[in-house]
C-alpha cells in the first residue's frame, strides 16, 4: 500500500510540468552560471551576507536595536536555511530514480525495490551534505543561535559563504590548485625545516634560554623566524642557537621567494585564460549576442562600421595570437581560441541566448567546419558564413549555414552594375550602404501592431515621402512586389519601404507597438 502510494507520488512528480519547471528555475538560480537572472540572486545573497556579518561584528561591542536582531535571527537565518534546503533539493532527483527503477523492474518482471533508488538518492544527498560548500552553508546558519555565544565564531563561515558568490576568489583558488604539487612540496619542506630547527633550538637552548620552556616554544620560534616575521619575543642566546637562526633565516628567504615565484608563474600562465573566461562570462549574460570567428579584413570592416551598434554584445574568436592582440588594441572584444573546436563554442550560453555566429575566417574549409560545429551544438544558432565560390556556398548551405556571403561575387556584381547601369549602381550602392538619402527598410508588424488590419492605401506612403516596395506575408513568407493598395496588413507581415532615414523613422514611430508574447 505504502509502496504503491510512493510509486504514484513519484510518477506524479515525474509527469508534473509545473514541478519540473519550479525545480528548473530553482536550479538555474542556484547553480546555472549562464542563467541571465542568477546575477541578481547572487547580488541579493552577497548583500544579505554582508549585512548579517556587519550586524554580528557590531554586536560584539554594541547593543543593536531589536529589529536588527530580529532581522538577523529570523530573516537572514530563514533565507539561509531555505537556500540550504533548496540546494539539497535540486542536487538530485529521487522521483526520476524511482520511476526508472520501477520501469526496469516491470520490463524485467522483477520485484520492485523502493530501497534501491531511495538509497542512490540518499547517497547523493549525503554526498552533497558533506561537501565543503554545504558544510560552510550549514555552519553559516549557526551564529543566529543566540544562547550559545560561542557559536558566533561561526560568523567566519558567513564570510566563507561569500566564496560561493564571488568568482575572483574561486579563480584565485583554482589558479593555486594548478600549482598544487609545487606548493605542497614547499609546504612539506617548510614543515621539515621548521621541525628540525625547532628540535635543534630546543636541544641547544632549553636549559640556557628562559623564553624556551617547551618544544612548542621552540617550534613557534622556528616558524616565526623562517617566515621572516621575527616578533623578537624569543631569541637565541647560545652560539649554536644563533647558527640555527642564521640557517633558517636564509632558508626562509629562499622559500618565500620560491613560493612567490610559483604563485606569480601560476598567475601569468593562467592570466590570459582567466581574462578570456571573464569575457565569455560577460557575453553569456546577454540574451542576444554575436560570435565572430576570424579577425580578417571583413571582420575589421564589419566591426569598424557596426561595433558600436552591437554595444559590446559580440566576441571575436581568432586562433592567431597576433591578430587577437591587434583586435584588442583596436578596442574590440577578442579571445585567442580555435572556433572550430566543439568545446570553444560550447562555452557560450547556447541554451538560453539568441546567438548569431559569423564564420568569417579566410579559409572556406574552416568556415564550413565552424558552421557544422555551431549547428551540431545547437540548431538555434544563426550562422552566416563567408565563402569564396558558388560551389563552396552550396556546401556551406548543406552544412547548415542560414546565409552565405560571397565577397568576390558581391564585388563582381557591383562592378558589373557600375559599368552597365551607372545610375542604377548609385541607387543600389546608396541603398546597400544605408546612406541618408535613401534606405530600404523593413517594418515588422510584430513590433508595429498599430498597422495590423490597416489597408495599404490608408498609410499615405506618398505623403510620408516613402515608397512601398513590397510585402512579405507573415505566415507563408511569400513576397509580393509592388503590392496592390487594397491589401490589408496582417500580423507578422513585413512591409518593405524605401525613403530617407528620417521618413522611415517617423513612419515606424507612428505605428510602433510591441506585442509581448
Amino acid at each position: 500500500m505504502f509502496k504503491n502510494s510512493v510509486i504514484k507520488f513519484a510518477f506524479f512528480l515525474n509527469g508534473s510540468d509545473s514541478y519540473k519547471q519550479i525545480k528548473e528555475i530553482a536550479s538555474n538560480f542556484l547553480q546555472n552560471q549562464d542563467y541571465y537572472y542568477k546575477k541578481y540572486f547572487d547580488i541579493f545573497m552577497i548583500s544579505l551576507i554582508i549585512v548579517s556579518i556587519t550586524i554580528l561584528v557590531y554586536e560584539v561591542k554594541h547593543s543593536v536595536p531589536e529589529w536588527m536582531d530580529f532581522f538577523d535571527i529570523y530573516i537572514v537565518t530563514i533565507i539561509f536555511t531555505l537556500e540550504y534546503l533548496a540546494r539539497l533539493w535540486v542536487y538530485n532527483d529521487w522521483h526520476s530514480l524511482v520511476v526508472k527503477e520501477y520501469g526496469e523492474s516491470q520490463f524485467l518482471n522483477r520485484k520492485f525495490s523502493l530501497w534501491k533508488p531511495s538509497k542512490i538518492a540518499l547517497q547523493g544527498k549525503v554526498e552533497y551534505l558533506f561537501s565543503p560548500t554545504a558544510i560552510i552553508d550549514l555552519l553559516a546558519i549557526l551564529p543566529a543561535y543566540r544562547p550559545l555565544r560561542v557559536l558566533r565564531i561561526f560568523v567566519l563561515f558567513r564570510v566563507f559563504k561569500l566564496l560561493r558568490y564571488t568568482k575572483s576568489i574561486n579563480q584565485f583558488l583554482s589558479v593555486l590548485s594548478s600549482k598544487k604539487f609545487e606548493l605542497f612540496t614547499l609546504l612539506f619542506l617548510l614543515l621539515f625545516i621548521t621541525i628540525t630547527a625547532g628540535i635543534a633550538i630546543y636541544v641547544f637552548e632549553e636549559q640556557q634560554n628562559k623564553d624556551i620552556n617547551s618544544l612548542f616554544d621552540a617550534l613557534y620560534w622556528a616558524l616565526i623566524t623562517i617566515s621572516t616575521v621575527g616578533y623578537g619575543d624569543i631569541s637565541p642566546v647560545t652560539p649554536q642557537g644563533r647558527v640555527v637562526s642564521m640557517v633558517i633565516i636564509v632558508t626562509g628567504i629562499a622559500m618565500i621567494s620560491f613560493v612567490t615565484s610559483v604563485i606569480v608563474s601560476a598567475f601569468s600562465e593562467k592570466l590570459t585564460e582567466l581574462k578570456e573566461n571573464r569575457i565569455i562570462e560577460e557575453i553569456n549574460k546577454n540574451e542576444e549576442f554575436m560570435i565572430i570567428c576570424g579577425y580578417g579584413q571583413m571582420t575589421r570592416m564589419f566591426l569598424k562600421h557596426y561595433s558600436t551598434e552591437y554595444n559590446r554584445r559580440y566576441i571575436v574568436i581568432e586562433n592567431d595570437k597576433e591578430k587577437v592582440e591587434e583586435a584588442i588594441k583596436e578596442g574590440y572584444r577578442a579571445i585567442h581560441d580555435d572556433a572550430s573546436k566543439h568545446d570553444v563554442i560550447a562555452k557560450f550560453n547556447t541554451d538560453y541566448a539568441k546567438i548569431t555566429l559569423l564564420a568569417l575566417t579566410g579559409s572556406d574549409i574552416a568556415n564550413i567546419y565552424i558552421t557544422l560545429n555551431a549547428k551540431a551544438l545547437s540548431s538555434k544558432i544563426r550562422v552566416i558564413t563567408r565563402a569564396s565560390t558558388d560551389k563552396l556556398a552550396k556546401k556551406c548551405k548543406l552544412a547548415g549555414a542560414d546565409s552565405v556571403v560571397m565577397p568576390t561575387q558581391i564585388a563582381n556584381r557591383m562592378l558589373f552594375s557600375a559599368i552597365t547601369q551607372p545610375v542604377m549602381y548609385k541607387a543600389i550602392y546608396a541603398i546597400l550602404t544605408g546612406q541618408h538619402l535613401a534606405q530600404l527598410d523593413e517594418v515588422n508588424l510584430t513590433y508595429h501592431r498599430k498597422l495590423v488590419g490597416k489597408k495599404l492605401d490608408e498609410l499615405n506612403f506618398k505623403e510620408n515621402k516613402l515608397l512601398c516596395i513590397g510585402l512579405q506575408i507573415g505566415i507563408s513568407g511569400e513576397f509580393i512586389f509592388n503590392p496592390p493598395m487594397r491589401l490589408h496588413l496582417e500580423e507578422e507581415d513585413i512591409l518593405l519601404i524605401m525613403g530617407r532615414k528620417v521618413s522611415i523613422e517617423h513612419f515606424k514611430m507612428s505605428y510602433a507597438e510591441i506585442r509581448y508574447v
Binding site: 563582381n412 562592378l415 558589373f416 545610375v423 513590397g470 512586389f481
Partner: protein, 230 residues
C-alpha cells in the same frame, strides 16, 4: 546589349563571372593581362580580344585604343599593382572612367588619390551585406534578386526619348503602379546631373533627356520602356 566599351585589367578565377557578364553584355570588351598563364586561360575560356602587356610600362598602355567615357576596370589581384595601374591609366586617359576594386580602406583612399572614378571595396560591401542580412533580411533578399542578372526581377535605367508620353508630366501626377513598376529615382537634367531619389521630397517633372530608374519584373519593365517611347 550595352553600348559601353570596357577594358578589364587582370583575369583570374575570381573574375570569371565579371568577365563572362561583361563579355556578353558590352559592345566592346577587352581583357588585358600581364602574365602568360592568365593570357592562355582567357584565350582558352573563349575570349578573342585578349592582350598580353607589361602594364607597368606607359608605352605599352598607350597602344590601347581607349576613347572618352570608356571603362577601364582595374581588378588585378596584386593591389599594389592595381593602384599603380589606376594612376597610370588616369594619367594616360583622363577622360575614361576608371573603376577599381579595393580590399581595404587604405587602398580605397589610395585608389581615390590615383584617380579612380568608382571604387568598390570588397570587404565594405560584404560587411554591409552581413549587417543587412541581420537587420533587414527581406530587403537584402530583394536587393540580391535585383543584382542577380538571371532573375526575372531588376532595376532598369530608361532615357526619356523625344516625343515620349512622359515629357512634361509631373512625377506626382503619373501612376507607375498601373504599369507594375516602381519609380525609384531619376536624373532631372533641368536641375542637375545628380541622381535624385523619388523619396527626397522634391517636385520633379519628366523631360526629354531625363533618366529614370525603375524596379519591377523584367517583362513589365520592358513594356514600360516601350510605353514611354510612344
Amino acid at each position: 546589349m550595352f553600348r559601353q566599351n570596357a577594358f578589364m585589367f587582370g583575369y583570374s578565377q575570381k573574375r570569371l563571372f565579371l568577365a563572362q557578364e561583361l563579355g556578353c553584355q558590352l559592345m566592346g570588351f577587352t581583357i588585358i593581362v600581364n602574365d602568360k598563364e592568365s593570357y592562355n586561360k582567357a584565350l582558352k575560356d573563349g575570349y578573342s580580344n585578349v592582350h598580353f602587356l607589361d602594364i607597368t610600362e606607359d608605352t605599352a598602355l598607350e597602344q590601347l585604343t581607349v576613347k572618352d567615357n570608356d571603362y577601364l576596370i582595374c581588378v588585378m589581384d596584386d593591389h599594389y599593382l592595381n593602384v599603380f595601374l589606376t594612376l597610370s591609366l588616369h594619367a594616360l586617359f583622363p577622360k575614361a572612367i576608371v573603376v577599381a576594386l579595393s580590399d581595404s580602406p587604405h587602398t580605397t583612399q589610395k585608389l581615390k588619390m590615383a584617380g579612380a572614378s568608382k571604387i568598390i571595396d570588397l570587404y565594405q560591401v560584404s560587411a554591409n551585406r552581413i549587417h543587412n542580412i541581420l537587420h533587414k533580411p527581406v530587403a537584402t533578399k530583394l536587393v540580391e534578386r535585383l543584382l542577380t542578372s538571371d532573375e526575372d526581377f531588376s532595376f532598369k535605367e530608361m532615357l526619356i526619348p523625344k516625343g515620349s508620353s512622359l515629357d512634361g508630366v509631373m512625377v506626382d501626377d503619373f501612376d507607375f503602379t498601373w504599369h507594375g513598376v516602381i519609380l525609384v529615382g531619376m536624373i532631372d537634367k533641368r536641375l542637375s546631373n545628380q541622381f535624385i531619389f523619388i523619396t527626397s521630397g522634391l517636385e520633379n517633372r519628366f523631360d526629354v533627356g531625363d533618366t529614370i530608374v525603375c524596379i519591377g519584373y523584367n517583362a513589365d519593365l520592358e513594356k514600360f520602356e516601350n510605353y514611354i517611347k510612344l
